[in-house]
Symmetry: C3
Subunit: 122 residues, 3 copies
């Protein structure tokens, strides 16, 4: 998990838009964006929940096809989704005090990731 | 669960924007927004599903850290997500006839909640 | 599952907007939009995961109320969500190479579906 909150907040601050929404999107099918309280407990709990409902070692059709060992990664990513849209007002993200925006790597190997940040507003 | 559909529809109607999208966002990490047919059966079924896959009494890291009894609330909220974006045309939300927009309280105690409604369009 | 990627890409190309976001929304409470690598393995794996965590034959309150056999369809659809928002730049969707936008029919019978595509940008 990578906490993106500060980077997103900075990006909004440096833009010319005061009020609007920002969409953060993962270009890829084995990563996701969530909001979560970014603390050590939940950093363990959330992936554990995913592995409980989408175990690594089931008989995945994706595995039979591609043999890259990441069928569960794809299924997890499609369940959670590739993006989050967050409103901002006066260049400030409308997040709760204990709510961070986090990239979730779901693949079995480390990867370089392209995230798209798109701001809309006025 | 709180049905927000009428409030959101009114907010769109009273805005100066005719066509666009509205984003509803929960500023907080233990509540979520969903669309659902808001009827007594599903009002029971949906939380039951969540409690089945994310039981209250597992050994949550969040609980060991904070002892506030709501580890499962956080995990549920991060799974479902904090927001919904809905298109509207001629100031009318593009919802199905049996599709309502609903706030889902996932915490263990009642809380005052801040929801942000952000309209984009022309 | 229906792969919508080409239709959405065409729609963006034909619009007057060069940079922005497109929201794809299902007007209905038993269908969803996901992104996924659209290949035969995952086309089997993703629905299997959903049926594992939300089985067809539980005692759904929705079933007791309406007797239409699709309580699980509603619960699945509310979990995954009705929409996806995708950024685009120079009229090109910011998708990964193996990431498609897919409509997921979750109801027990085939239905005509209304999808709303709303483009925002400049």
């Amino acid at each position: 998990m990578v906490d993106l909150t500060q980077k997103i907040a900075d990006y909004v601050k440096q833009s010319k838009v005061s009020n609007g929404i920002i969409t953060i999107f993962v270009a890829g099918s084995t990563g996701s964006i969530i909001t979560i309280e970014f603390e050590p407990g939940l950093i363990r709990d959330f992936p554990e929940m995913l592995s409980r409902i989408i175990p690594k070692d089931l008989d995945y059709g994706h595995e039979q096809m591609w043999h890259d060992g990441n069928g569960h990664s794809h299924v997890k990513a499609s369940l959670i989704g590739p993006s989050i849209t967050i409103p901002f007002v006066n260049k400030k993200l409308c997040l709760g005090s204990w709510q961070q925006v986090v990239f979730l790597e779901l693949d079995t190997r480390n990867r370089n990731r392209e995230l798209i940040l798109q701001i809309m507003g006025e």
